[in-house]
């Protein structure tokens, strides 16, 4: 998004990236940076670390609601499809049995519920995460490739109102970061 901003109002760099050697350091740093009032902060880890997400203020995911919606849509859609096709437009009288034979419709309804919910879970997750995203500034730091191995990163965006190139750098270095580097746009 920041790439679309007017060049004059765009900060000169994307932000500052601090590298940590251990997850404990990152967890401590996340708490400290959030307490210091920074909000445009993101951490990058090789595996999910709940403490970091919570330290940075990610408490509730919107995903469960989306999945519930997907499941309801799938289930209702599945039942409606059967009701409409078997009762309304293509009724078949087989030995005088009721055309609205709902017990027989349970299985496809169930499967459609699961399908709708699963599709909502996957595509909802990608949507909430803004993926696919072909470009992101953090990849401009060569050492960031280690984020998918055994290094832990914390990025403070320059757009954060509290951001100050020198002040923030000092804060990050003081948090036991092994390296602090600038992130180009």
């Amino acid at each position: 998004m920041s790439a679309l901003q007017h060049p004059a109002r765009r900060p000169p760099i994307y932000g500052l990236m601090a590298e940590f050697r251990s997850s404990d350091d990152l967890i401590a740093a996340s708490h400290r940076i959030y307490e210091a009032g920074y909000r445009r902060v993101d951490a990058f880890t090789p595996y999910p670390i709940e403490e970091v997400s919570e330290a940075l203020g990610h408490h509730r995911s919107k995903l469960p609601g989306i999945v519930l919606g997907g499941g309801l849509l799938g289930g209702l859609g599945g039942y409606f499809l059967q009701y409409w096709s078997q009762v309304l437009v293509y009724p078949m009288n087989i030995g005088g049995r009721p055309v609205h034979s709902w017990p027989a419709f349970i299985v496809p309804t169930f499967e459609c519920t699961i399908l709708g919910a699963a599709l909502a879970a996957v595509f909802g997750m990608f949507f909430l995460n803004g993926l696919p995203q072909p470009y992101h500034p953090v990849f401009n730091v060569p050492r960031f490739a280690m984020a998918s191995r055994d290094r832990y990163f914390l990025v403070v965006e320059a757009r954060d109102p509290k951001f100050d190139p020198d002040e923030t750098r000092r804060l990050l270095t003081g948090l036991n970061a092994s390296e602090v580097s600038e992130v180009e746009h």
């Binding site: 090789p46 709940e50 499967e111 997750m125 998918s148 191995r149």
Partner: protein
């Protein structure tokens, strides 16, 4: 009392010792390197041999299917009274095998069985490929396979709709949902690992391809937060789904008023059989895989032993199913049901039944012995036996029930033709070909989940205190 030292509370229970899930000495870096190296290294020689053999079998499949398309289902052994031959036997066999993958990836995740982490990725791949093989059979069995889309509800100029009261249509919904959800689950699990491969491969083309697959994944804390939620929800959705799939498959039989099929025991008995056969296949794949890729550090004896235990437990449920079937036949007092049971044990297919009992009930009893459960060679052999046994079980269910039902005037015999066997062996080729491609190009073990279980990592809820 000694408990007073603990502030009056009872002393905490001592956890029984368990061997570690990952060999000692591994770190997040070493598991990353070791598993991605399998993909990024030069192709080992054995891979070409294995792939060539599998691909040849796949060609057998193409030949069989081509001839089927030219001549029709008459080239198979199916004829009245047995309209469901190899096609349905193999369909049930394959789809059953798939169930272990979802059990490992979803149910064991929800039950916090951490050892699943080393085997879930390739078990899920196995599920996908087994479902692909299974899905082919009903379509090929249609007679006019090119009109398979008539099974789906869609507005058409004929103004026809599928019969939603038929278990066969339930099957279409169950199997296609299962295939879709398994594929989604598998892909979601792969995304962070594809990002790892993107970051670690030096080849430009590989970087681009893995990069496409990773969709720009960067391991952001905000992303992981949604990702974990999605993964758990998918596991929660896949759990009832996998149980429903084989239940619906068993409805194909149980809804029909045929002696030997019309039984309430079918759904649980089928699901247990599916997991039994599936774990046998997971072991069949895991044992050579860990040896050839030298992944013994991750797929340890403890994993093999646990899988042996699951096989033993589900195998016993299946045996209980066999006994219940015989009991039902006797207790029903129904002459046709009783004859069906008699015919299975003493009729023309008795040797199939004896072999089935030997394979599924007798041989797996060896798994009670710890020495057998910890021996890869024994486990491999038993898994093979169980796979054969489970195939025979479906043969018995499909064939012995149909070949002598109510009227002796309409009795008959069934034997697979060379084209039946060709198609079956061919789907094994398809399965193995896909599996060889998978182990060559994608990480066979979930890297990011392995990082959470190495000692000292902050995997949160998945972490077990190392002892």
């Amino acid at each position: 009392m000694a408990t007073l030292e603990n502030g009056g509370l009872p002393a905490p229970l001592e956890k029984p010792y368990r061997p570690p899930i990952v060999a000692p000495g591994h770190t997040t870096a070493s598991v990353t390197d070791k598993i991605s190296e399998v993909v990024l290294q030069r192709t080992p020689k054995w891979w070409f041999f294995g792939f060539a053999a599998s691909f040849s079998l796949l060609m057998v499949f193409l030949v069989s299917v081509t001839w089927l398309f030219v001549k029709g289902v008459g080239i198979w052994g199916v004829n009245w009274p047995i309209g469901w031959g190899f096609a349905i036997i193999c369909f049930v066999w394959w789809i059953g095998i798939g169930h272990a993958g979802t059990l490992i990836s979803a149910i064991l995740l929800l039950l916090r069985q951490e050892w699943r982490t080393s085997i879930n990725r390739f078990a899920e791949a196995m599920t996908l490929f087994a479902v692909a093989c299974a899905g082919l059979y009903p379509v090929l069995h249609l007679g006019r396979p090119w009109l398979f889309y008539w099974l789906l509800p869609y507005p058409n100029t004929m103004n026809l709709w599928p019969q939603f009261r038929s278990p066969l249509i339930w099957d279409v919904f169950a199997v296609s949902t299962y295939a879709t959800v398994s594929a989604l689950f598998w892909y979601v699990g792969l995304v962070p690992d594809l990002a790892t491969l993107r970051d670690r491969s030096s080849n430009r083309l590989a970087k681009v391809i893995y990069g496409f697959g990773a969709m720009g994944w960067r391991g952001s804390a905000a992303h992981w937060h949604n990702y974990e939620t999605a993964y758990l929800l998918l596991a929660g959705l896949a759990t009832p789904l996998v149980l429903s799939v084989h239940t619906v498959v068993s409805f194909d039989f149980a809804i029909g008023i045929v002696p030997g099929w019309h039984a309430t025991i079918f759904p649980p008995y089928f699901v247990a059989g599916a997991i039994y056969a599936g774990f046998a296949m997971v072991l069949t794949l895991a044992i050579p895989l860990r040896h050839l890729f030298k992944l013994e550090d991750f797929i340890t004896t403890r994993h093999l032993q646990n899988m042996g235990k699951v096989m033993l437990a589900t195998g016993m449920i299946v045996v209980y199913g066999y006994m219940t079937e015989l009991f039902f036949a006797w207790y029903s007092g129904n002459v046709y049901e009783m004859f069906m049971a008699w015919n299975r044990i003493f009729g023309p297919y008795r040797f199939h039944w004896y072999t089935l009992i030997l394979c599924n009930a007798v041989v797996p009893q060896l798994l009670w012995l710890r020495r057998i459960r910890t021996s890869p060679l024994w486990l491999f052999a038993i898994s093979m036996v169980v796979s054969v046994g489970m195939w025979l079980e479906r043969f018995i269910i499909v064939i012995t029930s149909l070949h002598r039902d109510f009227l002796p005037g309409s009795w008959g015999m069934y034997h697979g033709t060379i084209w039946d066997w060709g198609t079956f062996i061919g789907t094994i080729g398809l399965f193995l070909t896909l599996f060889f491609l998978f182990i060559r190009f994608l990480p066979t073990i979930s890297i990011f989940e392995m990082r959470t279980i190495v000692p000292g990592s902050h995997g949160g809820e998945y972490t077990e205190v190392p002892r």
